[in-house]
Each structure stands twice: as structure tokens, then as C-alpha cells.
Amino acid sequence: MLHRLTISELTARLARREVSAREAMQACLNQIADVDGDIRAFISHDPADALTQADAADKAIIAGADFARQPLLGVPMALKDVLAVKDQPLNCCSKILGNFRSPYDATVVEKLKAAGALIFGRLNMDEFAMGSSTENSAFQTTRNPWDTARIPGGSSGGSAAAVAADECIASLGSDTGGSIRQPAALCGCVGLKPTYGRVSRYGLVAFASSLDQIGPFTKDVRDAATVLEVISGQDQRDATSIPQPVPPYTKALTGDIKGLRLGLPKQFMVGGLDPEVKRAVDAAVTHLQSLGATVQEVSLPHTDHDVAVYYIIATAEASANLARFDGVRYGARVDGADPLEMYGNTRGAGFGAEVKRRIILGTYVLSSGYYDAYYLRAQKVRTLIRRDYLRAFEQVDVIVAPTTPTPAFKVGEKSGDPLQMYLSDIFTIGCNLAGIPGLSLPCGFAPTAKPGMPHAKLPIGLQLLGKPFAEETILRLAHAYEQSTPWHQERAL
């Protein structure tokens, strides 16, 4: 049962030497062997290396390691297949990277290792983080642990499903337009996208550099605070990381939210919102009021344009970032008579349909004659969107909203219609455009029909958006809500 524990529960038992890191790791490996044939969250993992790491942690614990200095000592963690771990494979779930193995550790990986984490597996995702369901992975589609006929969300769907199915204790993902919060909501775990610049992206394969952030998936809010504290901070190797001190996030979890001012964006509670999602979010807001928070309506008038702005800016940046995959220095190569032909052949064979679609769109909006009409205009509307959020934060401390318009949809339901898939990110994109932090946590369940299971249900996510660098405030609010509601105690398996 050790695989079912949270970070704080496991490390408390490790510190008391009631259990060993090897036992905890073995429990996760057993769970993967038992359930991952159905869930398909892991692309690869190395059990022998995982147990070797666990033995090293056990030695450190016996030698008197300090858990205050190493808060993740002995904790099995797996990572989205977009983060570099020295000598482990890195594919971004694309064919184009071939047999790539990382020659170095990402900064977040260095930090996790220094904190004692056992990093043992590669988790499925939409190819190059482009998608909302993991159906764009070149390798496999991950299934939602609550109902394997449904998608886990994306792009970090493997990271969410692995935590929800207790295959690892916590994981990392990346969030460009909702890729942490959306799958966390659909799989019933806690997912946090930090403020832009809070966490170094060195060693994260870039998708859209003005939007990408790395963040944790965990089983409760305290664990999210613990991981965030470990991975945050300025890094000389990422010039966009911001020199802002890292507060002790776990100390912010006081349980007291009296007087906190919450804003409900009126543009989010309209058409397309599933009635069960609306019911759960309304009930959560009422509950937060009963805990002493005050609630008012706020307006984000440019919300309607979030998706259009996002799909111009993100694809433009992606078309530039993905130019490096050309068959010269790494990955797969398809030969050609000259370099140009080789690039075209390699990229034509190596990228999947969604990646091609976005590279084409991004190239088009940056091309001569269209730059001003599309890209520059999108950047200007982005200014207006960001301004809307900062104005709302003059009146309120946290914006509260649904994470997704519906619970998890079925595999294949939207994969034929890219625009419908894009529109499912409608509530998460604004946060990335504005650069602010956002967290999703479970706030209830929607009943669902599932053959032979009359009480089947799907998780619903509550999204909390904070002021720039106000992670402490959204963690405090999330923790107070979680600890006074039963949702986080429900397990998928």
C-alpha cells in the first residue's frame, strides 16, 4: 500500500524507519506491473535503476540524512517525457527524436535529485506537448484511471494518470496552455502551474517559450507546495527565470482564509459549461465563503479571444523552437540529396499530424505579409488579456473558476476536429498568456454511465488563479478547501 501514500506520509514513515525507500519503490513498480497495461501512463521505466536509487536513499537515511534539507528523500517520482534526465531516454513522445538519451540533467531534475527524489520513469504526453488528450503521442494513448474509455487530458496526461493511479508518488509536467491543470482536473489530482519565470526551464524541451512552465502533479496540496519549494528559483542557465526569493511554501498552509477576496469571472460561467461542472464549482465557492472568504464577480472582457491569441503565439514560437529538429545533430534522419531535402524528409516523416499542423500555422502567421495581421495583433491582444487579469487582481486576491468546461471526454471523441480540441482549453489559456500562477484541485465528481459500474464517476477540477508570484496564496486557499472536503481522499483504483 506504500504506493498510495502522499509525499508527506511516505517521508514521515521513512524518517521513522518504519519502511524503506526500496519497499516504497517496489510498491510503485508492482502497481505499474498491475495496472499500467490498462492505464499506459509510462513510456519506459528502468526497475533495476529505480531500486538502485532506492538503496542509495536507504543508505542515506540510515546514515542520518536530514529530511528538512532533503524533503523528497526516497520518494519515487516520474517525469513527463519532455524533461532531460542524464542518461535516460527523452522523446517528447515523438518519432523524430529516435533513440535520444539526455547528456545532462534539467535544472529541475538536479534540484529533485539534490532533494533526494528517485527519478525512475518517462511519462506519456501529446507529441511535443501539443494536445489536450495524449492522443497525439506517437507511442500510445494514456487512459483515464477513473474510466479507461476516456482520455486523461493533456498534454501531461501520463503525469496526471500515473499519480491518480498511484503508480508514482508525484510527477512533473509542463504547462503551456493548461497542460498541467487540465489533466490534473480530469484525473482528480492537484496540478500547479507556477508564475512565468518561477521555475527554470533549462532542460525542458521548448514548445512556446513565452508561455511554458514546469510544475508538479501531486495527491494533495501539501505535496504540491513541497515540490514547488524544491524546483523553484532563479537559474543562470535560463535567462527568463526571475530573481525572486523562494518562500517556504509549506509554511503558507495555515488553514486560515478569512477575509481572502475571491473573484468569479463572469465570462467563464457561460455557454458550453457542463451542468455538473457548474454545480461542483458553485458548491465549492459556497464552501469557500463558509470558510471566511468573500466573493465578488470580476470581469475578464477579452476572454473570448484567449484561444485565438494562444494558437497564434504558441504556434509561432513552436515553429521557431522546433526548427532544431532537422536530422543533423540528434534524433532520427531521413536522407536526402542535399540538406534542404534531408530536413524536409526528416521532419515530414518524424513529426505527427498535430505538430505539423501547428508548425504550418506558426510559420504562416510569422511569414512576410502576415506577421502584422496575425502575430503582432495577437501580441497586442495578449497585452489586453494580461491587463484584464491585473485589473481584476486590484479587487480580488484569487480568481476562482472551473479548470475545464466538461469532465474527461471519450477517447476519439475530439481527435478528428482540431478546433474543438483547442476550445477545450478555454479556461486554462488566459493564465499562461498573463503569466500568472494557477492550480487545479478536485472539487467533486460527475456521475457517468459505465458498463457494469452503476456508481462510476469522473473528477471535476477547481481552478485557482493568483497574482504574479502569489503561489503561497493559492496554495493556502487550496489547502483550506481540500482539508475541509472529502474529494482528495477518493482514489481512482
Binding site: Y330, T363, A373
Partner: protein, 95 residues
């Protein structure tokens, strides 16, 4: 409403992507649909609005100019699809 002169062959060439005729046809139709949605942005009045490239722009981010360990030649070449004599091998560029 789709963009008037969206030339999929030209854009694919700019992007160094070789597409099959089926892909050209399918991507062209889907992108027309997506561009139709994006056209909505033309309704927004952006007069006098500065563009946002980064949420928190930092300027002149410097570090001390000191040599630090980097990848060895072997490590840098480890993932190369084709290499020889410590170099990446590519198709002939100059006749």
C-alpha cells in the same frame, strides 16, 4: 471565412516540412477552419496597445564571463544520426 491566399505548399517549404498530397489537402482544409476562428481577433481595437512578448520581460541578463564545464565532443555527438572524425556528417552542401 478562411485566409484568402493560404498557400500550403509555400508555407510547408518555409517550414522545411515535406507533406504528402493527402496531408496538403487535409492540413489545408483544417487550417482554413482554424484561421477562420482566428479572424475574430480583427474585431479587437488595438490602437495604441503595446505588444506583449513576455509576461515579465527581463533585460540585460548577464552572468560572469568565466569558462565553465560543458558537454564533451563525445557527449555532444552521442545522439548524432551520422558522425565522423568528431564531426556531424550532412549531405554535400557545395558542388
Amino acid at each position: 471565412m478562411s485566409a484568402p491566399d493560404f498557400n500550403i505548399k509555400y508555407v510547408a517549404h518555409l517550414a522545411r516540412l515535406k507533406l504528402s498530397p493527402e496531408e496538403e489537402q487535409q492540413l489545408g482544409a483544417q487550417l482554413g477552419h482554424i484561421l477562420g476562428h482566428i479572424e475574430k481577433l480583427k474585431e479587437v481595437d488595438v490602437t495604441g496597445v503595446e505588444p506583449t512578448a513576455h509576461a515579465f520581460p527581463l533585460v540585460n541578463v548577464f552572468r560572469t564571463d568565466e569558462p565553465r564545464p560543458g558537454l564533451s565532443t563525445e557527449e555532444a555527438l552521442r545522439n548524432a544520426p551520422k558522425q565522423s572524425s568528431g564531426l556531424f556528417v550532412v549531405p554535400k552542401v557545395v558542388e
